[in-house]
Amino acid sequence: MRSRRIVSRALLYLVLIVGAVLTLFPYLMVVLTSLKTAPQLNSVSPWLPAVPGTLSNYIRLFNGKIADISFLAYLWHTVLFTVILTAGQLVFTTFAAYAFARLRFVGRDVLFWAYLATMMVPNVVTMIPLYLIMRQIGWIDTWFGLMAPYILGSPYGIFLMRQFFRGLPADLEDAARIDGAGTLTILLRIFVPLSRPALGTLTILTTVFAWHNFLWPLIITSGDNTKLVTVGIASLQGNLGADYNLMMAGSFVALVPLIVIFLLFQRTIVRSIVLTGMK
């Protein structure tokens, strides 16, 4: 009986570890390949490191343009895009969520249902009209056009925060109101400090969403001043698809920031994902 348990336990470990290796394998490939020269792609097994390695791919990537793509600039744009978008979403989502959770106003329920209904709209369905709207107001290939659809808060985030706000006790808010605190004071002094976990979740989800965003940037940006790293990777792939050592250096640079965030906030991230499934 006991030995059977040990065997089954060992099997379980084996399966889980093999799975984990397969899960991480692409990352290993990114690192190993990015340190190889073009001839080494052919001569060294894909899963073995090249000896001696080379940093030439990274140097090429960071020194000016490759195939008309300023990779480093695009990476910087993605950082900016992610930070500004997340900041905007946090502010506007929190505002709206508070109103929906705590204020009683004409049209509240209708609006809330309208917000929820928009979550059913597939991303691609809005792309053509969004492009036309941006063209109408002259925002094609501008940062305004790139950000506008997302920066004003997302229905999903509002829903998430509203659920959280509704769970907070009313006494504190009542007491503050009696003391003459205004809505903004209550929101900033009471709700925001109490909502750190939910705000953390929202921050993570928005950051990942912004960093991954591809279809809209692909459509709306065309110049070197607006393109994001996802678009940059895709055009690198289109222009010199076979230069895998260079492509993997680019991939590494594009993947690392989120990996660092994952290592730092692993617990919050896991909790955030689970929370999105419980709503």
Binding site: P46, L103, A114, Y115, P122, V125, T126, P155, Y156, Q237
Partner: protein, 343 residues
Amino acid sequence: MSAPIQPPSTNVPAKPTATPADAAGPGNAEPGNAGPGTAAPPGRGGRRVQRLRATLTAYALIGPSLLGVLAFLLAPVVIVAVISLFRWNLLSSPKFIGLANYRRMAHDGSVWHSVLVTFAYVVLTIPVQTVLALLLAVMLNTRLRGVKVLRAVYVVPWMATPVVMGVVWRWIFDGRHGAVNAFLALFGVDAVNWLQSTTLALPTVAIVGIWSSAGYTMLFFLAGLQGIPDHLYEAARVDGATPVQQFFRITLPLLRPTMFFVLVTSVIGSFQVFDTVYSMTAPNYGGPGNATAVLNFKIYSTAFQLFDDGYASAIAMLLFGLLLVLTLAQVLYFRKRTTYEHG
């Protein structure tokens, strides 16, 4: 991001507590009641003003998001429906053609091919991904040493940017020097042209879809598993149920709400795959031939490469309609099958 589905396995502090405004109750501030000379209790008119102020405050607070939702989500849905009735290449002026785009679509083999490819992708990803996620969740729902690290490892792909991962997997599946072929060569298997083959390209893209979502989906099942009370399993063991019986008689039925949420959201996600298709099949996007031209890609290329925007809008409406039907079907199926469990 995802659909408003509510699985009941919840520890979220979402109890609806009465807000101060709720406590005031409805119908407290009928107009005209608080005029001078009436015997209205003091504060009634004040309450009306207060309510007006609350409404103003509320609209100031939701203002930005309301603008966003109206201009960038609701208006586009109306606009896309309208454009689908026009012939328009974005340059010349649009020409109203009624339902001609839809009639054209009905006879357009390439659109139905895209519908087929999309469904094939969903069928290739969802069952494997869901079963894999469930198995992983069961295996990771134990008190093994290091289990937390393993759980975290399986979630890592969720953080991987899909376009970038498409590029990485393309290299892994590269016909000449890719890792998969190099591995197969160890066993004397000839090189396979994964992404250049019309039959293998879509399954190869599907593998990437499964890789990126299995761990993420696992977390939902894990949360669901942890919500199942231990005493059920104890009772089953006392009655002599085998682990397999316990899984099918206890675990699976009680996971049904989680299963519902997972299936609905992952079908919606798979149905709209784009990024990995785009980067894995460059520069013959959607290829080889049209082998990986999913609906999302078909809409993108029709609108932004062929500039046939009226027609692309009609295909977008088709995608929207298919997704609504698919989601509704799942809601109905699970509603029918879920009711008796909590009785």
